[in-house]
Subunit: 250 residues, 2 copies
DNA sequence: CGAGCGTTTGATCGGTGTCAAGGATCGTGG
DNA sequence: CCACGATCCTTGACACCGATCAAACGCTCG
């Protein structure tokens, strides 16, 4: 019932963080899971609910968000194929944020209990999962800086750069052109802007020749200019581990 | 040379997250460490530098921050006695943010290598440390929402509530009165506001009777009103684990 | 063809930034 | 003990970025 193909994605990802031995690999691939499809806007979990499952995103896009007073919301992260989501909620037992599908999505659900058992049995795998969530945290920190201290043009350029590199790394698109699976309202919720202003900002970036747009896809016409406009340094994504050394830790 | 008293703080904190056995405790207390004092404004580590050590904060206050273009900076977290800081940087090897002392501070340095060895030998401890960094991440998410979607009055009230509960939990002060170890400029860097506007906002909260101020200390005169003003729900701090059940995970 | 949703654009408003100056507090050295 | 400088706090006047309100437009799918 366990198709290795499905958990291989997770294994590959974890092995980017940490050298595994055969038993580590076997243990990861032996995780029990179920697959679930989500429709756009469908919630995987809501804030305040007890959280059972971690989730490996197979296809599509998810976001995590928080609702705040006055009916506003803030998207705190966006996830794409290969990402492990909801580790936080499932290990901390009660969800402190919502996880919602941006597009049609397919997720692999793994119980928090199984994750803990795996971590207990295979410390090496535990460390790899830990590192994965630490990188998650690094992206959170960059987002705090992005929404807190950059102006609309800069924060918009920044998120476009981030999505470009993350989609490239996930094998979903080229850095120079990718599908942006979010409405302008959702982009606003990620950037702390109104949809109207997102629209104006994207238009300005386009008229300045940094990007061009076509329906829901983005073409980056001038990467360097966009990178400068967004004050973007990809170090916080820890992408370089894909090639190079086998382990993040000394 | 290893005084148990020093690492006991760390042990107690980890045991809030996870049930330990005798060997777990011994292993934590056997960690090699060095103690270092920091002057106000002194950096423990700078972004981009190779990171060697994790750090347990013994006394004083630290912040983590990022510098962005145009000379602005964003504080992404504030830490007080008992917090474990720099796990992220030391495990990911290259610092993606700065760690700086806000006040005189005393830190216990533990090498990333020792942390990894401990995690490998005692999976249970690894899970507890992992959970600690996950709670860290939960606070990051709340801060994204805070700087992204709340107005000045609300975000200021929110951070005052957060500091109150965290200092109370750390045994540093009462919820209703505590020392705020930050200048208004630093508060602004944490909230994404200018120091001038922080000043006006604090004054407004004071005139509305929610708080009163005296030098660098804050008295919360009307907790409920401040909580409402700040849209503050402490769930994201995961404080309730202090009492109650012995483990976060099922 | 119509309904619904998302995008685009314009006009105006308001919250926060900027600039500037003065006041309070603290540490330091005479 | 006082003088001084440095740092932080406070306040006012004004500017501007992004929010708000409103309406039209375009696409997609029944």
């Amino acid at each position: 019932m366990n198709s290795p193909a499905i958990l291989n994605t997770m294994l590959e990802r974890l092995e980017r963080h940490r050298q595994f031995d055969a038993e580590d690999r076997t243990a990861v691939l032996a995780l029990p899971y179920t697959v679930r499809k989500l429709r756009p806007h469908e919630h995987l979990i809501r804030e305040g609910e007890p959280a059972e499952n971690s989730c490996l995103l197979r296809s599509g896009f998810l976001c995590r968000h928080k609702i705040i007073a006055a009916g506003h919301r803030q998207i705190v992260s966006v996830h794409m194929a290969g990402d492990m989501v909801n580790m936080q909620n499932s290990l901390l037992k009660t969800a402190d944020h919502n996880v919602q599908a941006l597009t049609e999505a397919e997720v692999v659900l793994i119980s928090g209990r199984a994750i803990i058992e795996l971590a207990t049995a295979r410390p090496n795998v535990a460390i790899a999962m830990w590192l994965d969530t630490l990188i998650d945290g690094s992206i959170f920190r960059e987002w705090i800086a992005n929404v807190g201290r950059r102006d609309a043009r800069s924060k918009t350029a920044h998120i476009l750069c981030e999505f470009a590199l993350r989609q490239e790394r996930a094998g979903l698109a080229a850095r120079s052109r990718y599908d942006l699976p979010m409405t302008q309202e959702q982009l606003g919720d990620a950037l702390g802007l109104t949809p109207v202003h997102v629209n104006r900002t994207l238009k300005a970036l386009e008229q300045a020749g940094l990007i061009s747009r076509n329906r829901r896809s983005v073409t980056i016409s001038d990467w360097d200019a966009l990178r400068v406009a967004g004050d973007f340094d990809p170090a916080y994504l820890y992408l370089e581990l894909a090639e190079g050394e086998r382990s993040l830790v000394a």
